[in-house]
Amino acid sequence: MPRISIDDLKRIKEEQTGKMILRGGQFRAKVTVHMGTCGIAAGAREVMNVFRENIAAREIQDVILTNSGCAGLCAKEPMITVEVVNSAPVKYILVDKEKARKIFEEHVLGGKVVEDYALAIGSETMAT
């Protein structure tokens, strides 16, 4: 059985010591993937994989990825919420891998909301 090497963990710890970006909780953005039964069945885990791959590939350290439960709009899953620091959270609906890549590029990194995929902007809408 392969063991996680203690040396690898120590190396990460040493490298990060003194980097206040983590300890101050100063993340540039937080991406929440909704993981209720509805989200999981609709593909939420693969959407989470896309964000994880992008974060790893670019060695980004100030974007946090997290999970939440069902938000009650099961027909619109997979859903994610993107919170960029000092901006209002935005909920995206019917997210797939391609949309996830675009949202990561434009909103998470670029700070610009991808309006086409957002749940609602500016007007009253029915969530059906």
């Binding site: 392969p2 120590k10 990460i12 990060q16 993981m35 790893a56």
Partner: protein
């Protein structure tokens, strides 16, 4: 749900929503007895006896966001289709879901991507500990985040480099067991 790894993620997420700080996942592929056993145990708030009696009814859910709860019912359906069963035990503290299936049954769902399931759990819930024990034949792979957390100090479990390390370890471990190729 397309495969068992998604069912497992779903049940584990239920435990986290119930306030668990520790999730135990056991997957035991007993090839000699042709028996697949999956046990998901949490230390969350558990269920009342009344709720437990009705827990496999799809129209019973703790959620307030919607009125149906399909997760356990669908997992039970998957188990029954493969000559197996699903049992829920809860004694007030924590919940244990035990699922059995005939391993070689033609209708047994594939294992699916356990690496992504375990990573999604750990990364999405960095303050929750996860013990993942996968046995296949005579081989065994165990990942215990409590051991890793102890070494990391104040570096969070969802720190990207830690997640990458976990991903490599999970992939190698499950390859050695021939769970994935």
């Amino acid at each position: 749900m397309e495969d068992l790894s998604l069912h497992i993620l779903d049940v584990a997420e239920n435990g986290i929503r119930a306030g668990a700080t520790l999730i135990n996942i056991l997957v035991d592929e007993n090839l000699e007895d042709d028996l697949l056993t999956i046990v998901i145990k949490d230390n969350g708030k558990g269920m009342s006896a009344e709720f437990l009696n009705n827990v496999l009814d799809p129209f019973v859910t703790t959620r307030t966001t919607r009125r149906v709860g399909l997760g356990l019912s669908m997992f039970q359906q998957s188990a029954l289709e493969a000559e197996g069963n699903l049992e829920v035990q809860s004694t007030g503290v924590g919940t244990k879901v035990t699922v059995t299936m005939r391993n070689s049954h033609i209708d047994r769902k594939p294992m699916g991507d356990m690496v992504s399931t375990v990573l999604a759990l750990i990364e999405g819930n960095p303050n929750v500990d996860v013990v993942y024990d996968h046995r296949r034949g005579h081989g065994e792979y165990v990942l215990d985040t409590r051991e890793i957390r102890a070494e990391l100090g104040d570096i969070p479990m969802n720190f990207p480099q830690v997640v990458s390390l976990l991903q490599c370890n999970l992939s190698e471990g499950l390859k050695e067991l021939n769970v994935i190729s």
